[in-house]
């Protein structure tokens, strides 16, 4: 209802929000206002629709219904709802991993000729985790076996997911003792739905422990398979320059926005855009060429590997179309607003869906198949070029804002950058933390949400953390938010970082905020943390590390799954607005207090990003103290 609240702290977005108002086009912030007040039963997690005896809601004030019709308490209802959120989030990431594994399989069989093994070294490394012999074997042979083994993990019933063995031994042991080592990717998710079906699991701790297991099957399973096999198939990222924000749209080019998640599509679009015939066609139509830009996670994938410009993050997807300069937006899966169809109808912009799992009413569907990847991508791009003539130049308003950035940091290249080109090692990171020059490391990740001023949650938190000598790694929309504010430039260390962090950034040449990729690439952070433990000096389990995580502007169920796999791995994680758990004091206490004694990690909920940053700093200091490290060098 309030029109005076700050909708975005990004000036480019502010301009486009204003434009939407003038043109009378409804965007996400308008729909959010219309939705107020949002139902408190839902916000508290005490609404249950799992069976036809319902729908039920518990009266949090104690006078009305205190149990569901079946007898479920608020604790049961909240826990079951939470488990379904974890399941949905894990399913999204894991299905993405499955699709990458299938593409690798097809490529290895010669059925998807536009793909090939781009990183044979990483292929062999991954093969070793699966116990696959690599001596004297061809890339395609090894890739075939790796793809089959990876795919088998989805349907696995017993045993452990392979990548669990990459966690520190003591962390693995505690998972085994707790019985939460994931057995198979799909199995854990199916069990979530079974347990939350009417009349199955009623005990909130039992439900949530399975939630931890399911989240682990995402972080050390589906997501990690996605990240690792994407690196094998498409190449591992290395530090790379690029630009971000709506200003990367170019007035005299055919603008194509790739939005969604799976890099199997976006990589091919980037390749197709270099086709000389298509470029000639564009020039014949009066454009200077074809300008591919990305949004959301798929943007991060092609940014990390190819330096493709990023037009914006989650809340900017409608705003990109509102510039009037987008000939075509192609989407695959996840985080794609149905509203895009309505907004694109107000302009010449063509919206194209590519995944059979994600269609819109009335929107053209051109299905993407890895077997014909390049050909299909060229077909789609040709449509964009043909659409250029339909652009109404009088309606084009591209905000000029762009920002330089450096991305492309991974668990493999950071040790090279830090340790030296010929001696890849994490040692200087460990020494930096031990000596106190670096207080610790924080991961700031996740989405945007209109319930928080756009980009403010991410950037205010990160600025506060780097000011206090905490090295920050970012992924997803959080990375894009910080990039827009200039925090991904090495020079920003001098403007924003505390003295200790500044010294390290200057010595090594890195920004104080490292972009490690898309949301499935949060798995890179798990690997990095494990290798830091192995480097020694900072404890024996992941929960010993002076690290913390945060998702200040979370929106998606995927964020809940990611939060739970970090907590399950022993990392203190702060979310902005709370998960829908406050309807049960017991569940809230379990995930914000008791879990720390069980798995070494727990949640906190804090909407104020600066307060949240200080919760993380306090936690990092607590871990430093427990490790008996030197005090932070520059307090």
């Amino acid at each position: 209802m309030s029109n005076t609240r700050v909708k975005s702290v990004d000036t480019a977005s502010q301009k486009m929000i204003e434009r939407a108002k003038i043109d009378n086009i409804q965007i996400v912030w308008d729909r959010y206002d219309i939705m107020q007040p949002q139902c408190g039963f839902g916000q508290l997690g005490i609404c249950c629709r799992n069976c036809n005896m319902g729908p039920c809601r518990i009266d949090p004030f104690g006078e009305g219904a205190q149990k569901g019709v079946c007898g479920a308490s608020a604790d049961t209802i909240v826990a079951r709802n939470l488990l379904r959120m974890i399941a949905a989030g894990a399913a999204a990431h894991s299905d993405h991993g499955r699709d990458i594994a299938e593409a690798l399989l097809l490529a290895s069989e010669g059925k998807a000729r536009d793909y090939r093994v781009s990183n044979p070294v990483k292929l062999r490394k991954i093969a070793s985790y699966y116990g696959i012999k690599t001596e004297g074997r061809q890339d395609s042979e090894i890739a075939h076996e790796v793809a089959l083994k990876a795919l088998s993990e989805f349907g696995q019933q017993e045993d452990e997911l392979r990548f669990i063995s990459r966690a520190p031994k003591k962390t693995q042991e505690s998972w085994r003792k707790l019985g939460i080592v994931p057995r198979g990717v799909d199995r854990e998710i199916v069990e979530c739905l079974h347990r939350t079906n009417m009349g199955v699991d009623n005990e909130y701790k039992n439900i949530i422990m399975h939630g931890l297991r399911t989240a682990l099957s995402d972080g050390w399973g589906g997501s990690m398979i996605a990240t690792e096999l994407s690196d094998v198939l498409l190449g591992s990222p290395t530090p790379i320059r690029s630009k971000v924000n709506l200003g990367v749209l170019k007035e005299d080019y055919v603008n194509v926005v790739v939005h969604g998640h799976e890099p199997t599509l976006s990589e091919m679009v980037v390749q197709a855009s270099h086709d000389s015939e298509l470029i000639k066609l564009a020039k014949d139509k009066g454009a200077k060429g074809i300008n591919i830009v990305g949004m959301c996670c798929t943007a991060n994938e092609i940014l990390m590997r190819h330096g493709i410009h990023v037009a914006g993050n989650f809340l900017q997807q409608e705003l990109a179309i509102l510039t009037g300069a987008v000939e075509l937006m192609m989407v695959d899966v996840q985080c794609i607003m149905p509203a895009l169809a309505d907004v694109s109808n107000c302009f010449h912009t063509e919206l194209i869906t590519t995944s059979p799992k994600a269609k819109f009413p009335g929107v053209t569907h051109i299905e993407f198949h890895p077997e014909k990847a390049l050909e299909i991508s060229k077909t789609i791009l040709k449509r964009a070029v043909d659409n250029f003539k339909n652009r109404n130049k009088a309606r084009v308003v591209i905000p000029q804002e762009t920002m330089d950035l450096i991305a492309g940091f991974t668990a493999e290249d950071i040790p090279y950058i830090i340790g030296g080109q010929y001696r890849s090692t994490w040692r200087p990171v460990n020494d930096g933390i031990i000596s106190g020059r670096l207080r610790g490391i924080a991961g700031v990740v996740g989405c945007n949400n209109p319930n928080v001023p756009h980009d403010f949650g991410h950037t205010a938190m990160v600025k506060e953390l780097v000011k206090n000598d905490v090295l920050v790694v970012v992924t997803g929309c959080a990375a894009i938010a910080n990039a827009k504010m200039g925090l991904l430039k090495p020079e920003s260390a001098f403007e924003f970082a505390g003295k200790g962090l500044q010294e390290i950034c200057e010595a090594v040449g890195i920004p104080p905020v490292l972009h490690v990729g898309s949301c499935v690439d949060n798995s890179r952070i798990l690997i990095a943390c494990s290798e830091i433990i192995e480097q020694s000096g900072l404890g024996e389990r992941l929960s010993d590390l002076p690290v913390a995580g945060a998702a200040p502007e979370w929106m998606s169920e995927k964020a809940v799954s990611i939060g739970f796999y970090f907590v399950a791995s022993g990392v203190f994680t702060v979310f902005g607005t709370p998960q829908p758990v406050f309807g049960s004091q017991k569940v809230t206490d379990f995930i914000t207090k008791e879990l720390e004694d069980i798995v070494g990690g727990k949640f906190a909920f804090e909407v104020d990003p600066i307060k949240a940053a200080h919760l993380m700093i306090e936690h990092i200091d607590k871990k430093r103290k427990a490790l008996k490290l030197n005090p932070v060098m520059y307090q």
Partner: protein, 151 residues
């Protein structure tokens, strides 16, 4: 005469009261049939939010009633005995003057029906539909005198 009061500390914005109100004023009085009626019944009360509090808004049956004064058709009148503002739909011409002058925004236009709608305290029932429907007891149906003595 009992009146409708709202405990804003208990309103969770679920809008069950809106749905119950619309159904109670429909032809079929059944949620599953209501959406197929020719002239869709609308809720006579609406839940809004200000700051961090939610509150339903419905006709207050004011003792000083700008709506009655503004009504040019004589459709709106005040009944001293029941302490209620009454709306005679047969005399209403849909001029929307009442909508414009109501300080609470409690009377709203029903564009399809061409006349305004507002809370009539479910005049043919012993207890308004919203009171029955509210899951947290945020809607209180009470005599004015007793309200002051309530906790």
């Amino acid at each position: 005469m009992k009146k409708l009061y709202y405990d804003v500390n208990k309103c969770l914005g679920c809008k069950t009261c809106e749905i119950a109100c619309a159904v109670a004023h429909s032809q079929s009085k059944d949620l599953f049939s209501v959406l197929r009626e020719e002239v869709l019944s609308l809720p006579r009360k609406k839940v809004y939010r200000s700051g961090d509090k939610n509150f339903p808004v419905s006709c207050r049956h004011c003792q000083e009633h700008p709506c009655v004064d503004a009504c040019m058709g004589g459709a709106l009148s005040y009944d001293k005995k029941s302490e209620m503002v009454l709306h005679d739909e047969t005399r209403c011409v849909g001029c929307w003057m009442c909508v414009m002058v109501c300080p609470y925004g409690a009377i709203r236009p029903n564009l399809k029906a061409k006349i305004p709608i507002r809370c009539d305290k479910c005049k043919d029932e012993d207890e308004p539909a919203c009171v029955k429907a509210c899951p947290t007891g945020a809607i209180i149906w009470q005599e004015e005198a007793l309200i002051e003595t309530k906790k």
